[in-house]
């Protein structure tokens, strides 16, 4: 894959948690790539490290967790030169990371109920991130001009000396501000806030929040789970990020709302031009919304390819097992097939391939040598010593 169409490339990411029971080797060589404008599904069983991956990308792993190695490359378009710059997030200073978070990479966390701050209104919380990352000079000036125009309209038709001198004064100020439109000065904080609140309300409208003007003034506890989810998506999208990571953004929602939110994300992608990572363990969600899938198992990437390819031609034994375990309506089976054994303990993970104790195809090499992610056929990456045969084309 040529690197110029990528926005994110994660290479051999390693994250550990230093707990009393021992070192939890939560991520051990995660590899991802996300293309511009793509929606990628990140799938895997519970506990396989999807959320830790998401947090690692933003460097938000909290102690006792620590990112131990790898590279997180972000491809940032430089507006002046038109070139794309490669930035390794793990090498940035904490201060520079502040410009990445919320601005270039946004995240919607798993479980929306606990995420908004309970003591601030939704409007304030969205406006906060807008004020932090956006310039707003033009927007603030426009609001000021609009206010003056409204004031002028109100005075219109009123006679009397007082209102005519006031009109004159307002016209003067209006002309003054209009002359600044080409190069707006640093705005007054009050107008900056107003501009940010306006953008916040537009964002709520964009995510199809019911009664957005009312929600702006409400506190998180006054909203339903679906509304909170939308508010968080609005917050994450408020600064048109390069990448949006949705960590089980829809799992907590009921099916109809879930479908709405997913459609919404796809629409927004077109509108805002954001690339999206959808973290889920729901294969149905992946099939419907993602063009690319990355499968994780016990802290490693096992397979990465286009969605159709994955469903029709899985090459990693784990992926194949995962797919046969998905219930299908047209088959009426007594028992769903399952992968034998259970998810390994990440404090003492199996050596070599982490999947080998559960794998039907495992040989000696699987116990000793960790397989690396390789492109085994065009556009299909697999980390396995004995990948399943290529079924070739669609079934």
């Amino acid at each position: 894959m040529s690197d110029d169409e990528l926005v994110l490339k994660v290479e051999d990411l390693v994250t550990n948690f230093y707990t009393y029971e021992g070192v939890v080797k939560a991520l051990d060589g995660v590899n991802l790539f996300l293309r511009k404008g793509d929606t990628m599904g990140l799938v895997g069983e519970t506990g396989c490290g999807k959320s830790v991956t998401a947090r690692s990308i933003l460097r938000l792993v909290e102690p006792p967790g620590r990112i131990e190695g790898g590279r997180i490359l972000l491809y940032v378009p430089n507006e002046e030169s038109g070139n794309v710059e490669e930035v390794d997030l793990l090498k940035l200073s904490e201060e520079d990371m502040l410009h990445v978070r919320g601005r270039l990479v946004s995240i919607v966390f798993q479980d929306p109920a606990t995420f908004p701050n309970p003591v601030f209104t939704i409007g304030d919380q969205i406006a906060e991130v807008v004020m932090l990352h956006q310039d707003l000079r033009k927007e603030a000036l426009e609001i000021r001009i609009e206010e003056l125009r409204n004031a002028l309209d109100k005075l219109e038709g009123k006679g009397g000396l007082v209102s005519s001198t006031r009109r004159e004064k307002i016209r003067e100020r209006l002309a003054h501000y209009e002359s600044q439109l080409d190069d707006p000065p640093e705005p007054d904080p009050k107008y900056k806030k107003k501009a940010a609140l306006k953008i916040a309300e537009d964002m709520l409208r964009l995510v199809k929040m019911p009664a957005p003007d009312k929600v702006m003034m409400q506190y998180p506890h006054e909203l339903s789970g679906g509304m909170r989810q939308r508010a968080l998506i609005a917050m994450a999208l408020a600064c048109n990020p390069l990448i949006l990571i949705c960590d089980e953004a829809t799992t907590a929602l009921d099916v109809t709302v879930q479908a709405q939110v997913l459609n919404l994300l796809n629409e927004l992608k077109k509108e805002v031009g954001t690339s999206i990572i959808i973290i889920t363990h729901d294969m149905g969600v992946v099939a419907e919304t993602c063009s690319w899938v990355t499968v994780m198992y016990a802290g490693t990437t096992v397979e990465s390819c286009a969605t159709e390819e994955l469903f029709y031609n899985p090459r990693h034994p784990y992926t194949a097992g995962l797919l046969t375990a998905v219930p299908k309506l047209h088959e009426n089976r007594e028992r769903l097939p399952q992968i034998r054994g259970s998810v390994p303990n990440l404090i003492t993970p199996p050596p070599g391939c982490r999947f080998h104790p559960r794998c039907d195809y495992a040989t000696g090499i699987c116990e000793t040598e960790k397989p690396h992610l390789k492109e085994i056929s065009p556009g299909h990456w697999v980390a396995c010593h004995h990948p399943l045969p290529d079924k070739g084309g669609k079934r």
């Binding site: 933003l58 938000l60 909290e62 990371m97 502040l98 410009h99 990445v100 978070r101 919320g102 601005r103 946004s106 995240i107 966390f109 479980d111 606990t114 995420f115 908004p116 701050n117 309970p118 003591v119 209104t121 906060e128 991130v129 932090l132 990352h133 506190y219 506890h221 968080l232 917050m235």
Partner: protein, 344 residues
């Protein structure tokens, strides 16, 4: 008006509390001894005692006496303080109340201004040197008996320094009455009177130096409690998901702590502050006695020692009222901090 209804309801709810307190103290105080001892001394002829008993209604059955007490109370007659040469209890309270409130407020300001920042620092630098120091400092505050601490402080900062001829803090009283012999109280708050009525900066400074030691003693325990509360609630809040979200927005650590975490962490701390204000009244009893502070606490001690029942009942009732008011204020502050709390 939701807020007004809330306040009215809280005041109505406070009535049974205050009533319960005054009933219990009245019966307790009349159980421990014969109330007639208040009115006699070793020189009183035995033949005069039946007359004294009758004239104070002490021959009535207890419940009748209690109703007489209540009746008088609602007419503004809180009885006479026998230990204060039979002056009306209300008059003594009016005279001494400012001294105690002034001391309690200074203690409170000191406790809050020191306790909250210490708690924040301690939480954000968890397990670092400064956190250990803060924890030892506050553990000392909650473990030391206030009277012992006050005496030790006075011994070192006043007595020892004075003996060595070094500059030292005053060991008691509200101001130096030899130097400022001309001073008369107007409002009773010396910090106000010295500036507004006496126009004397030296007196103000003198009063402040007199406030330092008792204020610190009285506030130390409260400060320690606030620090510990602030530290633990801050640590808890910093683990909350909304803090992660705030960080994910790209906010700097300073903004995350002071805008997003602080307000949430203050919510439980405010409760503690309200309760502690009631506790300051209790602490004042000891502090005032040690620092010859002519406030309510000192009066309460002498009242107890001389079985001055009207004074004991009056003091207890007043403390109950202060407690209830402090809690009402806390609930109001609570509501402004936490939007989840609805008045009404």
């Amino acid at each position: 008006m939701r807020l007004r209804d809330f306040i009215i309801r809280r005041i109505l709810l406070a009535i049974p509390v205050v009533f319960g307190v005054l009933t219990i103290t009245w019966f307790l105080s009349h159980m421990v001894g014969d109330p007639v001892v208040m009115y006699i001394n070793t020189n009183t002829p035995a033949s005069a005692i039946p007359g004294i008993i009758r004239s104070h209604g002490l021959d009535q059955p207890p419940h009748i006496q209690y109703f007489i007490y209540l009746n008088n109370l609602f007419h503004g007659d809180w009885g006479e303080s026998t230990s204060m040469s039979f002056r009306p209890v209300t008059e003594v309270i009016a005279q001494r109340f400012p001294a105690t409130i002034e001391l309690a407020l200074v203690a409170m300001v000191f406790a809050v201004l020191l306790g909250i920042p210490l708690g924040i620092i301690s939480a954000t630098r968890k397990d670092q040197m400064i956190d250990h120091f803060t924890r030892i400092f506050s553990l000392a505050g909650v473990s030391m008996p206030i009277f012992w601490f006050a005496i030790m402080l006075k011994y070192v900062l006043y007595y020892q320094l004075a003996i060595m001829g070094l500059p030292h803090l005053p060991g008691g009283y509200r101001y130096d009455s030899n130097r400022f012999y001309w001073f008369q109280y107007t409002t009773g708050f010396i910090l106000i009177d010295s500036l507004v009525y006496a126009h004397s900066i030296p007196l103000f400074v003198d009063a402040l130096t007199h406030l330092v030691m008792p204020g610190f003693c009285l506030g130390y325990l409260t400060m320690a409690i606030i620090t510990r509360m602030m530290r633990s609630s801050m640590l808890e809040v910093l683990r909350e998901d909304y803090i992660t979200l705030a960080r994910a927005k790209g906010l700097s650590e300073k903004v995350v702590i002071y805008r997003h975490a602080l307000r949430n962490a203050l919510i439980p701390t405010v409760t503690v502050i309200g309760l502690a204000f009631g506790g300051l009244m209790t602490g004042a009893v000891l502090t005032e006695t040690i620092f010859q502070w002519h406030g309510l606490g000192q009066w309460a001690v002498s009242a107890i020692l001389s079985a001055d029942l009207a004074a004991i009942n009056g003091f207890t009732l007043l403390v109950a009222l202060i407690f209830v008011t402090a809690n009402l204020i806390v609930d109001l502050v609570y509501g402004t901090l936490d939007p989840r709390i609805r008045f009404g």
